[in-house]
C-alpha cells in the first residue's frame, strides 16, 4: 500500500515539475530574453491559461503527501520551515506578477510586475533544486549532538546555511555547495524547458534565438550533470546500489540521457513540440533516478543514532490508505479528462489568446 502511494506521489511530483517547470522556465526567459512588449506578451500568453492549473499540482502533491505520509509531511515541512515559507512568498510574487501586470497601463507598473514574475520564477527553480539536494543529502534527524538526540527521533530543524557550506558538516544548512549545485542544475534545466514550451506554443520572434539558447544551455547542463555525478558520493557513498540490485531501474538514467542528448538537435526539429518532449524526459528521468537512488528512504538520516525515514515508517495506517485508492482513482480519471479538454481547447499557438487583457 505504501509503495502504491509512493509511486502515485512521485508521478504527481514529476507531473508538477514538468508542468509548473515550464512556467518557471518561461519566467526566467521572460526575465533575461523578453526585451520588447511583443515578446513578453507572447511569453505570458503561452502560460497564461495554464499556470494556475499547473500550480494546483503542487497543492495536490502536498495534499497526497499529507494524507498518505503524514509523518514525512509534518517533519519535513517544519524542519525546512524557512525555505518552505520563502517558496510560498515567491509563489505569491510569481502569481501576482503574472496576473496584475495587465491591470494598469503604466510603464513603471509593468516593469515592477515583470521583475516580480521573472525573479520569483528564477528563485523558485533554484529553491526546488536545493530542496531535492536536501532530500538526497539527508538531515540530522533528532538533532543529534555528541551522540544524543535533542529532539524526538524524526524531528529536525535546518537553518538556511552553515558557516562552512559543506554537506558533510555536523550542523547542516539548507544551502551548501552540493544542494546549491542541484539548485543551479534545476535553474538551467527549467530554463531550457521553459524555452522549449515558448517555442512550442508561440510564433514569437525570439523563437530562433531561444533555440540557440537551448543548445548552449544544454552544453552547460551536460557539464553540470557530469559534475554532480562525480561529487554525488560526498552525500551518498553508494548512489548506484539500488540500480545494481534492480537493473530495470537503469531505464530511469537512460531516459535522462535520452532527453539530454535529444535536446542537441533543437535547431533541426520540424515539430515544435519535440524540444519540449525531450526536456520533459530529462526532468522525468533526472528526478526519478534521484529519488530511486535513495529508495526506500524518503529522507535519510545523517547520524547513526536515529534511523532514516522510509516509506514504511512515515505512512498513514492501512485502512486510510486503502480507502483512499477508491476516491483517488475517480479523481485521477477526472483530472486527466480536465487536462485533455484544457489543452485541447488551447491547442496550437497561443499568440492571440488575449491573456492579461482585462
Amino acid at each position: 500500500m505504501e509503495l502504491f502511494w509512493y509511486i502515485v506521489l512521485m508521478v504527481m511530483l514529476v507531473t508538477y515539475i514538468i508542468l509548473d517547470g515550464y512556467d518557471f522556465g518561461a519566467g526566467i526567459i521572460h526575465l533575461f530574453f523578453g526585451k520588447n512588449d511583443k515578446d513578453k506578451k507572447a511569453i505570458t500568453n503561452a502560460i497564461g491559461p495554464f499556470w494556475d492549473a499547473n500550480e494546483v499540482w503542487l497543492i495536490a502533491v502536498g495534499g497526497v503527501l499529507f494524507f498518505a505520509f503524514p509523518t514525512l509531511y509534518a517533519v519535513s515541512f517544519s524542519g525546512f520551515y524557512l525555505p518552505l515559507i520563502f517558496i510560498l512568498w515567491l509563489l505569491i510574487f510569481r502569481a501576482i506578477g503574472l496576473e496584475l501586470r495587465g491591470q494598469l497601463k503604466n510603464k513603471m507598473w509593468e516593469a515592477i510586475w515583470d521583475k516580480s514574475f521573472g525573479l520569483a520564477s528564477l528563485l523558485l527553480a533554484l529553491f526546488f533544486g536545493i530542496a531535492l539536494g536536501n532530500v538526497v543529502r539527508g538531515v540530522n534527524l533528532g538533532m543529534v549532538t555528541d551522540g544524543v538526540s535533542t529532539h524526538e527521533a524524526h524531528y529536525f530543524f535546518l537553518p538556511l546555511w552553515n558557516p562552512t557550506f559543506s554537506p558533510n558538516a555536523e550542523h547542516l544548512g539548507i544551502i551548501d555547495w552540493f544542494t546549491l549545485l542541484l539548485g543551479i542544475i534545476s535553474v538551467v534545466a527549467l530554463t531550457i524547458h521553459g524555452a522549449n514550451w515558448i517555442i512550442f506554443k508561440t510564433n514569437s520572434s525570439i523563437n530562433e534565438r531561444l533555440k540557440k539558447v537551448v543548445f548552449n544551455l544544454n552544453i552547460v547542463l551536460v557539464l553540470l550533470v557530469i559534475c554532480s555525478v562525480f561529487v554525488w558520493h560526498y552525500v551518498d557513498p553508494q548512489p548506484f546500489k539500488n540500480f545494481m540490485e534492480q537493473p530495470l531501474l537503469w531505464v530511469l538514467p537512460g531516459i535522462t540521457l535520452f532527453g539530454l542528448f535529444g535536446l542537441f538537435n533543437v535547431k533541426k526539429f520540424k515539430k515544435h513540440g519535440l524540444g519540449f518532449l525531450f526536456s520533459s524526459l530529462f526532468l522525468l528521468g533526472g528526478l526519478s533516478s534521484t529519488v530511486a537512488s535513495i529508495f526506500p528512504k524518503v529522507l535519510p538520516s545523517t547520524n547513526d543514532v536515529n534511523p532514516s525515514l522510509t516509506i514504511h515508517n512515515v505512512a498513514a495506517d492501512d485502512y486510510g490508505l486503502s480507502v483512499g485508492v477508491y476516491w483517488f482513482i475517480i479523481a485521477a480519471v477526472l483530472v486527466v479528462v480536465y487536462m485533455f479538454i484544457q489543452y485541447r481547447v488551447f491547442r496550437g499557438k497561443m499568440d492571440d489568446v488575449g491573456y492579461g487583457e482585462h
Binding site: 494556475d52 492549473a53 494546483v56 495534499g63 517544519s78 483512499g324
Partner: protein
C-alpha cells in the same frame, strides 16, 4: 511558541477567507447571469457576467495565492497535529486538491479566455464547473473543520496517532451539513452586498444605470434569501449542534454565566466580566434563548457555572463578541434587505436614496459577519484542536523556534497588507470603469 503560531494561522486564514467567500458567491451569481442570458438573449446579462468575471478573476488570484500557505502551514507550524491526525484530515484535504482545485482551475482558464472558442452554451458550462469546484472546495474544507469540531470515525493508537476506521463517517458527520450550508449562505450574502453596493454606487453616480438597477435588484433578492436561510434553518441547526456537542462553548457564546430556573434570557448587548462571572450593562429578553434552542419557553440552558473552569473556552469575551457581532449583523441584513425588497415591489427602490447610500456603505459588513462567524466556531473550539481529544498547545511544531515563527508572521503581515492594497486599488479601478455594453448578438 504557541502564541505566534496561533497568530500566524489566525492572521493568514482570516485574510485568506476574505477572498473565497466572494469567489464562491460570485461564481453562483455569474453563472446566474450567464443562465439569464442564455434564456432571454438580452445582452445586458452577458455584459453583467463579463463585468463580474473581471472582479472574479482578480479575487480568485488573491484567494489562490493566500490559500496555498494555509495547506503548507499545517506542516510548517502544526507538525505535531499533522503527524497525529494526518491519516484522517489528510483524506479530506487531499480530496479537496484532487476533486475541487483541479476542476476549478482547469475550467477557470477556459471560462475567462474561452468565450469565443467555446460558444455560449459551453461557456456557461465552464462557468458552472468553476462554481461546482469552488463549492466542492468549501464542502471538503468544512468536512475537515467538522471533524476537528466533532471527531467521528476514528480510533486513537497507543502512540497517540489518530487513525481512520470509517471513511463514510467523515461525510455523515452531523456537524458537516448545517455548517457547510450556513457558510455558503454567508458567502452568498457577501456577494449580494458587493453586487448591490456596486449597483447602488452606479445609480447614485448616474452612470451605468441599466447595470446599476440590475445589480441592486439581483443583490437585494439574492441577499435577502441567503440572509434568511443563514439564520433559519442553517444557523439554527449549526447552533443546535453546538448546544448538543459543545455546551460549554454555547454558554460562553450566549454569555450565560448562570443556569436560569424557568428558562434563559437572550442577551442582546452586554460586556462579559469573566473574573466576576457576570455580564455588565446587559440588555436581554427573558426566556427567548430557551425557546430558540429547545422550542420551550422554560427549557433549561446550562450556564458556565455548570462546567469545570478547565473546560472553558480560552477566550470567552472574544467568543461572545464574535457570536454577537455575527448575529447582530445578520439581523440588520435581513431588516435592510427586507425594506429594500418592499421598495422594489413598490417600484421606488432606485429612487430611495438613503437605501442606496446604505447599500454602498454596507459592503464591508458581511465580510465582518462572515469573519465573526468563523471566529465563533474557532474560538468556541479552543483550547482544543480536536475537540476534547487534542489540545492546541500540543499540536505545534516542536522543532521551530518562536523567532522563526515571528519572522514569518511579520513577513505574512507585510505581504498581505500589500496584497490587500493592490486588490482594493485594482477592484476600485474596475468598478469605477464599469461594465461595457456590447452590441446585440
Amino acid at each position: 511558541m504557541l502564541f505566534y503560531d496561533r497568530m500566524q494561522f489566525a492572521f493568514t486564514i482570516t485574510f485568506h477567507y476574505l477572498f473565497p467567500q466572494l469567489t464562491m458567491g460570485l461564481a453562483l451569481i455569474v453563472v446566474y447571469f450567464k443562465w439569464r442570458f442564455l434564456r432571454t438573449k438580452e445582452t445586458v446579462f452577458n455584459d453583467a457576467a463579463k463585468f463580474w468575471m473581471k472582479i472574479f478573476a482578480l479575487n480568485f488570484v488573491m484567494g489562490v495565492v493566500t490559500g496555498i500557505p494555509m495547506e503548507f502551514q499545517f506542516g510548517t507550524n502544526w507538525a505535531k497535529f499533522s503527524e497525529l491526525t494526518g491519516g484522517i484530515i489528510g483524506q479530506t484535504l487531499a480530496m479537496e486538491g484532487m476533486f475541487s482545485f483541479f476542476l476549478e482551475s482547469s475550467f477557470l482558464g477556459l471560462f475567462l479566455f474561452g468565450e469565443k472558442l467555446l460558444g455560449q452554451k459551453l461557456h456557461f458550462l465552464t462557468g458552472f464547473l468553476v462554481f461546482l469546484g469552488s463549492w466542492a472546495s468549501g464542502y471538503l474544507i468544512i468536512a475537515t473543520h467538522s471533524w476537528m469540531q466533532h471527531p467521528v470515525g476514528y480510533e486513537i493508537l497507543e502512540n497517540g496517532k489518530f487513525v481512520l476506521n470509517n471513511f463514510g463517517a467523515l461525510f455523515s458527520n452531523p456537524w458537516l451539513l448545517p455548517s457547510f450550508l450556513h457558510n455558503q449562505m454567508g458567502s452568498v450574502i457577501t456577494t449580494s452586498f458587493v453586487i448591490a453596493g456596486v449597483g447602488a454606487f452606479y445609480i447614485l453616480n448616474n452612470k451605468h444605470s441599466k447595470f446599476g438597477k440590475l445589480f441592486v435588484k439581483t443583490g437585494v433578492i439574492f441577499g435577502l434569501i441567503s440572509s434568511v436561510l443563514a439564520a433559519f434553518p442553517t444557523g439554527d441547526l449549526a447552533a443546535k449542534n453546538v448546544v448538543k456537542h459543545q455546551p460549554v462553548a454555547f454558554a460562553a457564546m450566549e454569555g450565560i454565566f448562570e443556569t436560569e430556573e424557568g428558562g434563559s434570557e437572550i442577551i442582546l448587548i452586554g460586556q462579559p466580566d469573566v473574573e466576576n462571572k457576570k455580564l455588565d450593562n446587559k440588555l436581554a429578553v427573558p426566556n427567548v434563548l430557551s425557546f430558540l434552542t429547545y422550542q420551550r419557553w422554560d427549557a433549561e440552558i446550562k450556564g458556565l457555572n455548570e462546567f469545570d473552569e478547565s473546560l472553558y473556552p480560552t477566550n470567552i469575551p472574544g467568543l461572545y463578541y464574535a457570536y454577537h457581532i455575527m448575529v447582530g449583523l445578520g439581523t440588520i441584513f435581513i431588516a435592510l434587505l427586507g425594506i429594500a425588497l418592499i421598495q422594489l415591489f413598490r417600484k421606488k427602490l432606485y429612487s430611495t436614496k438613503w437605501i442606496l447610500w446604505l447599500l454602498v456603505f454596507m459592503i464591508p459588513f458581511p465580510y465582518i459577519a462572515n469573519t465573526a462567524g468563523w471566529y465563533t466556531a474557532e474560538l468556541g473550539r479552543q483550547p482544543w484542536l480536536v475537540y476534547n481529544l487534542l489540545k492546541t498547545a500540543d499540536g505545534i511544531s516542536p522543532n521551530v523556534s518562536s523567532g522563526n515563527t515571528l519572522f514569518t508572521l511579520l513577513g505574512f503581515i507585510g505581504l498581505y497588507l500589500l496584497l490587500g492594497m493592490l486588490f482594493l486599488i485594482l477592484a476600485g479601478k474596475i468598478i469605477n470603469k464599469g461594465p461595457e455594453t456590447s452590441k446585440e448578438i
